[in-house]
């Protein structure tokens, strides 16, 4: 069973892993800040660089942040998602007559 305790434990490990990668990425970005800023400001086709960078950071740092909240026990309400499930259409019963073959 996936209890709150299990989730917290797993999140702590993930938070440490993603946290370490996030710290490494941020350290690298600020260590090479000046050449990075110059390169990214060239414009033109270089416009893909900032986009790619923020995607990478949002994946790593986003996972880190998510796991930190879970490790701290801050999670969504257990009722989350129930509303949508209730709103889904109920499957229609098959009422049409169907041709069958009696062997």
């Amino acid at each position: 069973m996936n209890t709150a305790h299990d989730r917290k434990k797993k999140a702590k490990i993930n938070a440490l892993l993603f946290g370490a990668v996030s710290v490494a990425l941020y350290s690298a970005a600020f260590y090479y800040a000046d050449p990075m800023v110059e390169l990214y400001a060239k414009g033109g086709a270089y416009c893909l660089l900032p986009v790619a960078t923020v995607f990478l950071f949002s994946y790593v740092h986003g996972n880190f942040a998510s796991n930190v909240w879970t490790a701290l026990g801050i999670e969504a309400s257990s009722s989350a998602g129930r509303k949508t499930k209730a709103a889904e259409a109920t499957p229609r019963k098959e009422t049409r007559t169907r041709a069958t073959v009696n062997a």
């Binding site: 209890t3 709150a4 305790h5 941020y26 970005a29 600020f30 800040a33 990075m36 800023v37 990214y40 400001a41 060239k42 414009g43 033109g44 270089y46 416009c47 893909l48 660089l49 900032p50 986009v51 960078t53 923020v54 995607f55 950071f57 949002s58 740092h61 986003g62 942040a65 998510s66 930190v68 909240w69 801050i74 999670e75 969504a76 309400s77 257990s78 009722s79 989350a80 998602g81 509303k83 949508t84 499930k85 709103a87 259409a89």
Partner: protein, 355 residues
């Protein structure tokens, strides 16, 4: 813009205080954004400019953090079943068109009346739109709370949904079938507002609630998809001109990714109308704050002759009030979340289960 491109001094030196300020505002902006679908930009852009960052670089760097933040928030809220991706993408594409129209209007005003005229137009749009929409949303939030907290689809949305105008679009996520031609104006308005005051969600979310007929929970979550589409398109344009200061973007992103996920979690503990409350409160305070900035531009246009010290203190109060608006929003969200969690725990303990 080309002159600015050639100017090597457009990227400022960052102080520790500046970094901490951006991180903190990024966090609070993210929190509000994760909850109501938009917000934060109205403090971040002037905040960066007060640190010495040129306007276009502040706007570009802000926008570059906006779309990954919106993506992370949208993914989180998708897990809770709150996002209508199809609707978000359709409104998002219409919003891109709105942004382009908004930019042309801005250019025209800049040519006719110069930077002060442009700033005056932005401030007037801020005050007019936010007071009108904010008052309406606040009135609706109060009525909904009085009626037991259950949201009802507006009559106008019901009427629009009943009109068969090709092409009709089915939105399974929000269980709505409506003509594309009624979703397009919502996107256009969001885009126009985004190009004018940088916060398109203040038109997008109310539009999705009152015109398309979504619940506030779904509308605020779907706005994150719209923000992603608009933010990605806008970032590519700004980055094409080399205006993104990646350091600023990454600092704000560091704070906002924590905030946006907390805001998304917060939506699962509150009733739908709380989203309207937070949005309307922020809109009304921000409208008042921008109102205080108007005399500065009127003086620049030589329309009034007020004392310079008075105008300067009004401008400072205006920025302070915008920070206050964000703070009030964050306070309501966190308080509602803490109360909601406490109630759920008490119920779980009473039922003897482990949540």
């Amino acid at each position: 813009m080309h002159d600015l491109l050639l100017d090597g001094a457009r990227f400022v030196d960052l102080s520790l205080v500046g970094v901490l300020f951006l991180f903190f505002v990024g966090f609070v902006g993210g929190l509000v954004s994760g909850f109501i679908g938009s917000g934060g930009a109205f403090v971040l852009t002037p905040g960066m400019m007060s640190l010495g960052v040129p306007g276009p670089v502040a706007v570009a760097s802000n926008m570059c953090h906006k779309f990954p933040k919106a993506l992370v928030g949208a993914l989180k809220r998708y897990k809770y079943g709150q996002v209508d991706i199809k609707l978000g993408l359709i409104v998002g594409v219409s919003a891109e068109v709105g942004v382009q129209i908004g930019i042309q209007i801005q250019k025209l005003i800049l040519e006719l009346w110069g930077p002060a005229g442009s700033n005056l137009y932005v401030s007037l749009a801020f005050v007019f739109v936010l007071v009108t929409v904010g008052s309406f949303v606040m009135k609706d939030a109060i009525t909904t709370k009085r009626n037991g907290g259950e949201e009802k689809v507006t009559n106008i949305a019901k009427k629009l949904q009943s009109i068969e105008l090709w092409p009709m679009v089915n939105f399974k996520g929000s269980n709505i079938r409506i003509s594309f031609w009624f979703t397009a104006p919502v996107g256009l308005a969001a885009g126009l507002l985004a190009a004018t005051i940088a916060v398109g969600g203040f038109a997008g979310v109310p539009g999705m609630i009152y015109i398309i007929g979504m619940s506030s929970l779904m509308a605020s979550a779907t706005e994150l998809v719209v923000a992603f589409v608009m933010g990605l398109g806008g970032t590519l344009i700004w980055a094409f001109y080399g205006m993104v200061d990646i350091r600023l973007t990454l600092i704000i992103l560091a704070g906002s990714l924590f905030g946006v996920q907390l805001g998304a979690i917060g939506t699962t503990y509150v009733k739908d109308y709380v989203i309207k409350y937070v949005m309307a409160t922020i809109m009304l305070i921000v409208a008042f704050s921008r109102g205080l900035a108007i005399p500065k531009y009127l003086k620049q246009l030589e329309a009034i002759n007020w004392d310079a010290t008075l105008i300067s203190s009004m401008s400072k109060t205006s920025f302070g009030l915008m920070c206050f608006a964000l703070g009030v929003g964050a306070f309501i969200i966190l308080k509602a979340m803490i109360v909601g969690r406490r109630k759920e725990r008490q119920m779980a303990m009473a039922a003897g289960t482990n949540v």
